[in-house]
């Protein structure tokens, strides 16, 4: 690039670059004389207006994680942090989760909010088994992870993972609503990585 001085002004000029740009523009122009054909042109007109194409995994995972309905499983103290999360200040419905179902058949995720005792364990197990696939479990609170303060007790199950598989663990006694929301986001990320191919093979 050369800089020439013309009557007190410095003029920056690079003819090479300008030429290159010109060539690109010309090339695109000659290449784009015809419109690009619609990738869906093999579909008939009626179908074209009604179908969106994407990868099956992406759409399934998006649908699954955007409306995770929790099932009622509120044995102890953590339940009140879950209820506070569902209430207006923290508003769990931002994640499409405000429909807390009493029936396991309609639920996708079990948020295990509280201490599990051996007397209660068969019931929780049965609720989990009645939930339709795909299903996930969030272990909320120290009790759900390991028994927490009551780990040595004669009647407490040391962790929900003794009876059901757990996807996300949220520590705290009780975890704050923010922590629960963080756990829910983690579950979302986990769901986003799933593939139906894996599911079929599992």
């Amino acid at each position: 690039m050369e800089v020439t001085e013309k009557s007190g002004f410095y003029v920056y000029s690079d003819v090479e670059l300008d030429k290159n740009e010109g060539i690109q523009i010309e090339a695109l122009k000659t290449a784009s004389q015809n419109s690009i054909p619609d990738p869906d042109r093999w579909l008939d007109e009626e179908t074209q207006r009604n179908i969106l194409l994407t990868s099956l995994d992406a759409i399934l995972n998006w649908a699954r994680r955007s409306s995770l309905w929790p099932v009622v499983c509120f044995p102890a103290c953590c339940a009140f942090e879950l209820i506070a999360t569902a209430a207006s200040r923290f508003d769990i419905s931002r994640f499409g989760m405000e429909v807390i179902r009493a029936s396991p058949r309609q639920a996708d995720v079990m948020i295990t909010a509280g201490t599990l005792t051996w007397k209660m364990a068969p019931n929780v197990r049965r609720i989990y088994e009645q939930m339709a696939e795909p299903k996930w479990v969030i272990a909320m609170g120290a009790c759900a992870i390991s028994g927490g303060t009551f780990a040595q007790s004669y009647s407490v199950v040391p962790g929900y993972n003794r009876i059901i598989p757990v996807d996300v663990y949220i520590p705290g006694c009780p975890p704050r609503p923010e922590a629960l929301l963080h756990g829910i986001r983690m579950l979302h990320n986990k769901i986003a990585k799933q593939s139906i191919k894996q599911e079929a093979g599992k």
Binding site: V72, C73, F74, P75, A76, C77, A79, F80, E81, I83, A84, A87, S88, R89, A102, G114, T115, T117, K119, M120, N123, V124, I127, T149, F150, Q152, S153, Y154, S155, V156, C173, P174, R176
Partner: protein, 367 residues
């Protein structure tokens, strides 16, 4: 022609939206009418009384939080009073005032949930309880300010409270206390003369006065039956004898009276809070106790008027660092004794309301 139906057994719970936790009700129905019920409990029995025998007196405070998790402060208070009685510890005046402030705030929070859940059971689904959770969040903010926790505070210590309140606490509390009567009026105005609410709660689930005393009911359940018995007046603890407040009582002992008593109690709590805020002195908040704290051999029973009733701790000491026996007199469990008498003869839908009007907390029922 009379159609006779075979009685059949319906199982409500332990996981059921209307049973407030893991309570199970085995109800025998004749058509829609309840002919017999059997409460089945123990689904949250965590063995706190046994675990407490292996921890020091101070380490047991967090366990008391987890008994009635809707009223952790009241549980802390009852336990600390029992230990102080056992060891003859006095609490500085400011500590006592802080305890009263926290206990009354906790009563407000607990009654808000009790009333909200009760209305939920009555069919006013979700709307009232969401409003009441809004106020509860404000109370939790205050607790968070003093203890850093939202649910299990462990704020009270043997000999006082764990730390003094921050500067912003009293102004914030003043603002809350000034607004609260308006909120109570708002809810009460919506509910108390609602035709459907009256039809479903008046005269339903009557607990007569004699029976209420005989089954050792306490708290709003006892007072709704017309017994003027409140530990804060009958056996004043902490500094409750310095405040002026009334004991609201009902007359009929039905679900409606239990609702009314709770609402009136919330107003009285606001009154106590106003007086406590005006009177609170400066000074220390805690009497220091040694780390390895050994109370003398003996036994003590400390009790308070918790939101759900008389909450007492019976401690036996053998002179070691851990209690020899740690017993909790749980109001929720004992209030359930008359459930059968109150429910029989009513329809299933009424049975749910009757159960909701007692206001139990499973953590305390099962311990």
């Amino acid at each position: 022609m009379v159609l006779k139906a075979e009685p059949f057994v319906v199982n409500l719970g332990p996981v059921h939206p209307s049973t407030h936790g893991v309570f199970r009700l085995r109800a025998t129905l004749d058509g829609e009418v309840v002919v017999n019920i059997e409460p089945v409990i123990g689904y949250l029995h965590r063995g706190i009384e046994k675990l407490a025998e292996g921890r020091t007196y101070t380490q047991n405070i967090p366990f008391t939080d987890r008994l009635d998790y809707l009223a952790s402060m009241s549980n802390n208070l009852a336990y600390c009073l029992a230990v102080e009685k056992l060891a003859g510890i006095t609490v500085p005046e400011r500590g006592d005032y802080l305890r009263v402030i926290m206990a009354e705030l906790q009563r407000l929070a607990s009654h808000l949930i009790a009333v909200g859940a009760f209305l939920n059971d009555c069919g006013a689904f979700m709307t009232p309880i969401l409003y009441m959770l809004r106020e509860r969040e404000k109370i939790l903010d205050h607790f968070e300010m003093v203890s850093g926790q939202r649910l299990t505070y462990a704020y009270m210590r043997i000999g006082g409270v764990s730390q003094d309140i921050p500067e912003e606490f009293l102004p914030a509390l003043g603002k809350f206390v000034a607004g609260m009567p308006g909120y109570i009026d708002e809810y009460d105005g919506l509910i108390k003369e609602n035709e459907i609410f009256l039809a479903r709660t008046k005269g339903v689930g009557i607990l007569p006065k004699d029976l209420a005393i005989n089954i050792s009911a306490s708290g709003p359940v006892l007072r709704a039956s017309g017994v003027k018995w409140d530990i804060r007046k009958a056996d004043p603890y902490s500094v409750y004898d310095r405040f002026e407040f009334d004991i609201p009582t009902g007359t009929a002992g039905d679900c409606y009276d239990r609702y009314r008593v709770r609402v009136e109690e919330m107003r009285q709590s606001v009154r106590i809070l106003q007086q406590a805020m005006a009177q609170i002195p400066k000074g220390k908040v805690r009497t220091e106790i040694p780390l390895t704290f050994r109370p003398p051999v003996g036994e003590a029973y400390g009790h308070v008027e918790a939101p759900k009733g008389e909450l007492g701790f019976y401690l036996v000491s053998d002179g070691s660092i851990a209690p020899y026996r740690f017993h909790c007199r749980a109001p929720s469990l004992i209030n359930l004794t008359a459930l059968r008498d109150m429910m029989i003869g009513w329809k299933v839908a009424d049975a749910i309301i009757i159960f909701g009007s007692i206001d139990i907390c499973m953590g305390e029922v099962d311990r």
